[in-house]
């Protein structure tokens, strides 16, 4: 009984440490795709560009509205 308790505590501590390390890794991970999307949104506004229409130049009036993925 005592033995079982003593071996469980370090195991729990190890599990906790692993979980914490995992959390830290997730929290500092740089969201590259989201950053690219943010950059493109801002560049569109600063350079007053529209995203290039798929399949070559399209009449400005016919160009589809700017896509926004929720």
């Amino acid at each position: 009984m005592t033995h079982a308790r003593m071996s469980l505590t370090p195991l729990a501590a190890l599990a906790l440490a692993t979980a914490l390390a995992g959390c830290v890794t997730i929290n500092i991970y740089f969201p590259a795709a989201a950053a690219e999307k943010a950059a493109d949104t801002i560049i569109d506004e600063v350079w007053q560009m529209k995203p290039p229409p798929p399949g070559g130049p399209v009449d400005a009036a016919k160009a589809p509205a700017k896509e926004k993925t929720p």
Partner: protein, 137 residues
């Protein structure tokens, strides 16, 4: 212990949401930088097109050919370039800060550097990864 695990789970969830969702770019400071840069763009455009000003590999702009700007305008163009670099630096810093990770600033800057250069129109001058200036085709 259960409470601790619940807190950990919540923390993980927030971390994942931040990692997978969009970056927050809707702050007053970011809006101000964007407005400043959009207004300056009209003035910088002829110098981008002539190649006097180019896009650097570190997410800024540079008066790379001062001789291509008439002396009378050179001071004004130098000021435009300085203003643009200040706004861009502020923008990168603010995006990192607004998303709770000031340490992301270099990554944000690197991402913007790549996107400015990728999206620059043909004819503009951009700096490649080794620092060599090339005209976009």
């Amino acid at each position: 212990m259960t409470r601790l695990l619940a807190i950990l789970a919540a923390w993980m969830y927030v971390g994942l949401a931040a990692a997978q969702g969009d970056l927050d770019i809707d702050t007053p400071a970011i809006a101000q930088f964007k407005t400043g840069m959009a207004q300056r763009y009209a003035q910088l455009l002829p110098w981008y097109q002539s190649g006097a000003v180019g896009l650097t590999r570190d997410g800024g702009v540079l008066l790379r050919e001062p001789g291509a700007v008439p002396l009378a305008q050179r001071q004004a163009v130098t000021a435009l370039v300085a203003g643009e670099n200040a706004d861009r630096a502020g923008l990168y810093r603010e995006i990192a800060r607004a998303n709770g990770n000031p340490g992301w600033e270099p990554d944000i800057r690197a991402t913007f550097a790549q996107r400015w250069i990728d999206r620059a129109p043909a004819g503009w001058w951009v700096q490649n990864a080794t620092g060599i200036w090339q005209q976009k085709r």
